[in-house]
Symmetry: C2
Subunit: 333 residues, 2 copies
């Protein structure tokens, strides 16, 4: 049998005072509660002695606030999102919020399930990496006036708070950089997706080619389904290299890069010598082997901090204004 937890009442009884008085002191609101100095000291001492820990359930029930937020990621096993989770958790806990994490696995039905689950856990708001085709769920949240912020992706036709990298600009600058460094023929491997972040990355590529007066060759654009297997990417890379004779390849996500590097490795190609690689985001393999790869580094920390800031503002002050924040990405190596 677990020992019963110490409650406000226990402290109150110990000192022969009311629970209200103790509550004020515990919450450092003795001024407001007009608690005497002596008494406050005694209460604090007793709370310490009995090892009092406030009951968050009672508190949340009374306050109608849980001080917890739901974080819905597209894919928890992707290190990019895992990293995001870590930062958001840190940032939230600085503000005394707990984060409950859910993963939608890139499927709108799963996202709805997770939303419902977290909502039944009374989270005060959400930070969401929305999946493709989850517009309905987002609209429902808007209708319910649930506080939430989209990160990493947004929908052009839904007006709501969002925070992300300027994917178009980052992509444009990166591709431009490679062209200036003498890439004459660049292939791109991207997801076959409606999500605006992927579309923007492709747009950046196209715009950079155009601005450098290079012809866009549709054969150099490889679109991969989400549920691709490694072999699909291998084939794309092989085709780009063998048939299309590219001198560089742009992989638009970290997972694509990982699989792409494997293909390049298996094809016996040497990066820098045989081919230049441009990658969105970092990954373990690149950093471990110090592959000479040009990377777009997203300001994840900024993104996470900003989204928490916006969300907490929504929760605590609920102003009606909507902001779509974008941060610039950085090129590295």
């Amino acid at each position: 049998m677990k020992k019963k937890k110490v409650s406000l009442k226990d402290i109150a009884n110990e000192l022969g005072v009311s629970a209200t008085l103790v509550s004020y002191v515990i919450n450092n609101r003795e001024k407001e509660g007009r608690v005497g100095k002596e008494m406050a000291k005694k209460i604090r001492a007793t709370a310490e002695r009995l090892n009092y820990k406030p009951n968050h359930f009672a508190r949340s029930l009374k306050n109608q606030k849980s001080r917890s937020i739901g974080l819905i990621l597209a894919d928890i096993s992707n290190p990019f999102f895992a990293n995001m989770a870590r930062i958001i958790e840190d940032e939230a806990s600085k503000n005394n919020y707990t984060v409950i994490i859910g993963s939608s696995d890139e499927r709108p039905e799963k996202m709805e399930r997770v939303l419902n689950f977290l909502s039944s856990r009374q989270v005060d708001g959400f930070i969401i990496v929305p999946t493709e085709n989850s517009q309905d769920q987002i609209r429902t949240l808007l209708a319910e006036k649930t506080p939430f912020v989209l990160v990493d992706r947004r929908f052009d036709d839904i007006s709501c708070n969002s925070v992300m990298t300027d994917n178009f600009l980052a992509s444009y600058k990166a591709v431009n950089h490679l062209i200036k460094n003498k890439s004459r023929r660049m292939g791109i491997v991207t997801y076959d997706s409606d999500l605006n972040n992927h579309k923007d990355r492709l747009k950046g590529y196209l715009e950079a080619l155009k601005n450098n007066k290079m012809r866009v060759d549709q054969q150099l654009i490889k679109r991969i389904k989400y549920n691709q297997n490694d072999n699909d990417i291998y084939k794309c890379v092989k085709s780009l290299v063998d048939e299309r004779k590219v001198d560089s390849i742009f992989f638009t996500t970290n997972t694509l890069t990982l699989k792409g590097l494997k293909a390049i490795h298996n094809l016996g190609l040497k990066i820098s010598k045989d081919i230049e690689i441009l990658a969105f985001d970092n990954n373990e393999v690149i950093s471990f082997y110090n592959y000479p790869v040009t990377q777009v580094i997203q300001p994840i920390e900024k993104i996470c901090k900003e989204s928490i800031a916006i969300l907490l503002d929504l929760i605590e002050n609920s102003p009606g204004k909507i902001s779509n924040t974008i941060f610039e990405g950085k090129l590295s190596r």
Copy 2:
């Protein structure tokens, strides 16, 4: 302003009945509450229509159970533990439990902080990967009769529930396997740690050498501090290869393996041709490049499922018995 949530009372008022009645139906305990069939049907319909979601805080407050468990990992950024988190979360949610994750970062003070934090969130119990020197915290939990299970590691001098791989046996079998496959001189790179899992892995290595009548050379045993930098491992590997002329190296954790592989790569050595590698656990680099590495694969899923089973049994039935479960690891490749 967020719309107010629907409560039992709202449903009750809608139908002109008492909240109690609704509660019984919602919890599928209409038999127990002797609720009429017609009424039950009406209540269910109304609950559905109003999109009723039970308030977990009120429930937990009343029941003195939160249906949530605290998971304290040694290091959330280690994929081994991240994977564990995923499985435990899955398993818990099958049983309608929520998991709140904390990371001790291998430091006992941090572990204590996380324990306190989760405890103030009224978790019903803990699954813990204990850090070195956290015996005091574990003893406190025992004294408080808080339900908990240790995973991956335990302390020989504390009697409590634990679930892990048979590290000694797995290590013994793996080393033995390499010796049978003609390794004549095997180095080992392990953590300089008091944790029993690391000690057992070293013991397995020693025992396998002994059983094969091979001399134990202390120079072949490299102990690394937790806060090592990559260079320390590089030096160890270089020393083993250049000075000690080993024909194989045993890395006893996935992080050591990752850094070790990098060292081997940088030394220009070819695995299988120049050196054989034995690794505890899988990692992204091995699986991505299909390195011909002999691996000990821990039955993480079994471990997680068993620890959840034990914990929930403790929470829900609280029998006094203590079990120290060990599962066999598997060799692969």
